[in-house]
């Protein structure tokens, strides 16, 4: 156990910088007031860009607070990835925030998002279940507020309450599991649990209850039902944030938990993951097939993607972990590209039905192209990055012997390809008398979309990225 001193606070720089950002937001709100929209958004975006940049500084890692907080290279990487994702979300939200309906609530939006991000960062770095739980709640409660952000809309409020109540239930169940783990293993510190945890019924109970709590956040069947409704009801940018950042962080945390704390129970959680991932892929795809609303559609698409993520986790190897992180990074960029375009269109026209996308390519080729890249990436079609992510997930799963799971997964990719192509079809093929008119998005939106597209196009080609991730990953088999 290392001795803590002031210097070691630098380990926590992601969180600290973000908390500072929150404070500066508040300060700016007080000093400048809410009237100056341009200043507010520029300030927020700039500040967050700075925070993101700071995250990338090469700074050491270690543990603090008696093991309650710990960072490692892979944690830092994940936080950086999340930061970049949130940056893109910010850029994509600005046009929406500037609208009349959000008069006087711009700073709050940024503040809530950053605070959930802080929560996720703490969750990632948690060294015991208390911090983990706090991080989880910090990532959830403001999220419900964000989902209910459009106070005039029934759907938004409905989304908020559904998310909050179900999240509370899930965290209640998770807490019950945690309490069992505590009772059986004397400690809530991960380091102690890794030592003490053994294969007994109470631990299995705890494992599953904790797993359920996280599976809820990743939208794993059968804990996923909130996803579609909340995604549909929440404002577009919040949906995008939830589907990307929140899900990615939870998936990552679940993976590290399973790989470290529940290492001894790997056989048990393998079963659980196997069953749920098959269910998730299949159900997600089957529901996505028939959606007409783009947000709802993407909700089910993201559920299906979560099932794929499990392929890497279930592999349990260093390869599995590295591909999961790699996949998550790609997933973030791909989904943000798709959501970005959907958001741009929604902001401009208020349309969010897939039928409205008919003939989009003729009027807005750039948007359609970005969307295409994003969808191809989600579907796993080369040369965009999603293909590499999925391919490696399959490889990792098969490497650990999950042949039939992989076969089920590839069959599911085909179903998913069908509905991804539906949007392609709408944009390029189906004629439309009244297509969405040609419009130009603002600078922020463009920047956000370009960032996402560059990510999609480049991650696959630079093998070094995966190399780096692999080197800092770990598995339970080694």
């Amino acid at each position: 156990m290392s001795i803590m001193n002031l210097n070691s606070f630098i380990y926590m720089r992601h969180e600290l910088v973000l908390v500072a950002v929150i404070l500066l937001f508040l300060l700016a709100e007080i000093v400048v007031g809410s009237k100056n929209k341009n200043f507010t958004v520029n300030f927020a975006a700039g500040l967050f860009l700075l925070a993101t940049a700071i995250g990338f500084l090469p700074i050491p890692y270690g543990e603090m607070f008696g093991g309650m907080y710990q960072t490692s290279e892979v944690n830092i990487l994940m936080k950086n990835v999340l930061n970049v994702g949130v940056l893109i979300v910010f850029l994509q939200s600005i046009a929406w925030l500037k609208k009349d309906e959000n008069e006087g609530r711009i700073t709050e939006f940024f503040l809530l998002i950053v605070s959930t991000l802080v929560g996720m960062d703490y969750m990632i770095s948690a060294g015991d279940f208390l911090m983990f739980y706090l991080g989880l709640e910090l990532a959830t409660i403001p999220m419900a507020a964000l989902a209910a952000y459009q106070v005039y809309s029934i759907k938004s409020a409905e989304a908020g309450i559904k998310l909050l109540l179900l999240a509370a239930l899930s965290s209640g169940i998770m807490l019950y599991g945690v309490s069992m783990l505590y009772g059986a293993n004397e400690s809530l510190y991960f380091a102690d649990l890794i030592q003490n945890l053994s294969n007994n019924p109470l631990n299995i109970l705890g494992l599953i209850f904790v797993f359920s709590g996280l599976a809820f956040k990743i939208s794993i069947v059968p804990f996923h039902f909130w996803t579609a409704d909340v995604y549909e009801g929440a404002p577009m940018n919040v949906t995008s944030y939830m589907s990307v950042i929140s899900k990615a962080s939870a998936a990552f945390v679940l993976m590290t938990l399973l790989f470290t704390v529940f290492k001894q129970l790997s056989q048990e959680w393998t079963y659980a993951l196997y069953i749920t991932s098959v269910l998730t892929m299949t159900m997600g795809n089957l529901f996505a097939l028939r959606q007409k609303n783009i947000k709802r559609y993407l909700a089910f698409s993201s559920i299906a993607q979560a099932g794929f993520i499990f392929l890497g986790i279930i592999a349990g190897s260093q390869m599995g972990m590295s591909t999961v992180i790699y996949f998550l990074a790609i997933y973030i960029f791909s989904n943000l590209a798709v959501f970005g375009v959907a958001g741009a269109i929604f902001n401009q026209t208020g349309k969010e039905s897939i039928d409205d996308y008919n003939g989009l390519y003729k009027t807005n080729p750039a948007l359609a192209l970005t969307m295409t890249f994003g969808l191809f990436s989600l579907a796993g079609i080369p040369p965009v990055a999603g293909f590499f992510g999925k391919f490696f997930l399959f490889t990792a799963a098969m490497e650990s012997g999950f042949l039939w799971l992989t076969v089920i997964a590839v069959v599911n990719t085909i179903i998913s390809l069908y509905y991804y192509l539906l949007i392609i079809k709408a944009m390029y093929i189906i004629p439309n008398d009244q297509p969405i008119e040609k419009f130009s998005s603002d600078f922020y939106m463009k920047a956000g979309l370009i960032l996402a597209t560059v990510g999609i196009l480049s991650i696959g080609f630079f093998g070094g990225i995966h190399n780096y991730i692999f080197d800092i990953s770990f598995g339970i088999l080694n």
Binding site: F391, F392, L403, N467
Partner: protein, 498 residues
């Protein structure tokens, strides 16, 4: 820049140039220039390859280059060619050029059309030069997916349905294939050593037979679906019927060959033990395909359907030959890929041209076109004769090689299926002549058709390129045959050990 990567770089540069061009006229000129350079480069490659072999290089693959891509998976951008891939690259170069001229008349969204078309070509070239399974698969998918938009946007008829069906079936097959490829990779270290995706390395590994039994059918069906293996061929008639001319040409002419090539080089080439064990099953499927495709073609009235079913029949022969495990049949398989590529491209281009004039593809609505458009009709006649395997045209050479090869196996079951497949030459004659007879001969059915014009210059370019290729291969096949046979030697050594 090495000679092989140029084959990818040239189309990519063409793509970029097209993306920045202003009008459809510029676009097609750029496309023509780009594909022309690519064609020259393809021939240059053939020449260089023959030189290399003549100079005594007996390596399995020549011009190999290797760049690390994903180190931890041992994935490389590995390229290299042997006689088979060189021949198919030349085929691709020719058909892409012909295809560009065949789409000279595309004006609606011409830029996008050519971009997707050339992207498709890029995928095909990449597939043929790759010797790393992963790289190969990447290019494979790049080649398949543009089909969706090409058919969906520029197609005709039930284009949306057809495009979706085609894409889903092909991608579905490729997904199954993917599992097989990963399986190959994972078992590549059974003899010790590191895991690899490299075909040359994999060829040295003897995969456990239990694993082969799982992965061989996956690989064979995965590639086979693209090669119109019965019963996974149903995307083909609809897809071809809906696709625009150049796309049909490229797809039937080149893309479907990826299936045969992969089945030969990967499914059978790397897992021969299981291939031999399960050959009987797939021989039944291919045998059915060859005969049944031909029978299916007899009753069609849509020109494109006729040709699509004909492709099913002819491509079944490729897969059939691949399962024969002797040099003659394998040689025939590759020859058939090349031959069918040219012939079917010629057919589809002609169908496109005729359709462009008559606005119908129903043979019963046409007739006596020979009188009105002698050049097109004559070319159609040539294509017909070539397709039914007349000497002097490439198909004869290819089919005979396959038949002779198929007969070298004394097993009675092989013999019976071989006879069955051979019988397709009769049925082929029936449907080809039926179509040609109704379409080109007899009285002119529609008065309006008397005013129709014959081919224009760019159509002639297409036709000349293709007919010339067909006859050159048909009349002087020896060099090609030798080039292919040489490259089959390593594979046959592996089979000999069975």
């Amino acid at each position: 820049m090495d000679i092989l990567s140029l084959l990818i770089v040239i189309p990519v540069l063409t793509l970029v140039a097209i993306a920045f061009s202003k009008s459809y006229k510029q676009v097609r000129v750029i496309a023509a220039i780009g594909s022309g350079i690519q064609l020259i480069q393809s021939f240059n490659l053939v020449w260089q390859y023959l030189q290399e072999r003549a100079s005594g290089n007996t390596a399995t693959m020549v011009f190999t280059k290797s760049y690390v891509w994903f180190e931890k998976f041992n994935i490389h951008y590995d390229i290299g060619v042997d006689g088979i891939s060189v021949a198919l690259i030349a085929l691709t170069g020719i058909i892409v050029s012909a295809g560009v001229y065949a789409s000279w008349g595309v004006k609606e969204q011409a830029k996008e059309f050519f971009i997707w078309l050339i992207l498709l070509a890029t995928g095909v070239f990449g597939f043929f030069i790759a010797i790393d399974l992963f790289t190969m698969f990447v290019f494979y998918e790049i080649a398949v997916i543009p089909m969706y938009l090409l058919i969906g946007v520029w197609g005709s008829g039930k284009k949306e349905y057809s495009a979706m069906k085609l894409t889903l079936m092909l991608m579905g097959a490729s997904a199954i294939l993917l599992v097989a490829l990963i399986g190959l990779y994972l078992y590549s270290d059974v003899d010790g050593g590191v895991r690899t995706w490299n075909i040359l390395e994999l060829a040295k590994v003897t995969m456990p037979i239990e694993a082969q039994r799982i992965f061989f059918p996956m690989a064979f069906v995965g590639f086979g679906a693209l090669g119109a293996l019965f019963p996974f061929h149903t995307w083909s008639p609809d897809g071809h019927a809906s696709a625009p001319t150049a796309v049909s040409m490229l797809h039937a002419g080149v893309l479907m060959k990826l299936g045969g090539y992969g089945a030969l080089r990967i499914a059978v080439g790397l897992m021969p033990e299981a291939a031999q064990e399960q050959a009987w099953f797939f021989m039944i499927l291919t045998g059915i395909g060859a005969v049944y495709g031909a029978f299916g073609a007899i009753m069609q009235t849509d020109l494109k359907y006729i040709n699509a079913y004909s492709s099913v029949s002819h491509l079944a022969m490729i897969l059939f030959a691949v399962l024969m495990f002797n040099v003659t049949a394998l040689n025939g398989a590759v020859m058939q890929m090349i031959s069918h590529g040219f012939i079917t491209a010629l057919f589809f281009s002609l169908i496109g041209m005729i359709y462009g004039r008559t606005h119908t593809r129903d043979i019963y609505k046409m007739g006596g076109l020979m009188k009105v458009m002698p050049i097109l009709a004559g070319s159609y006649m040539v294509a017909s004769f070539a397709s039914l395997g007349l000497p002097g045209f490439s198909a004869f050479v290819a089919e005979m090689t396959i038949f002779v090869g198929a007969f070298q196996n004394p097993d009675i079951f092989y013999r019976i299926t071989a006879v069955l497949v051979t019988s397709s030459i009769v049925i082929t004659a029936v449907y080809i002549l039926r179509a040609a007879g109704i379409l080109l001969m007899g009285p002119i059915k529609n008065e309006e058709f008397k005013e129709l014009s014959d081919s224009v210059w760019y159509e002639k370019v297409t036709l000349v390129i293709l007919i010339l290729s067909i006859t050159v291969v048909g009349m002087a096949p020896l060099w090609l045959s030798n080039m292919i046979t040489d490259s089959l030697t390593p594979m046959l050594q592996r089979f000999a050990a069975l």
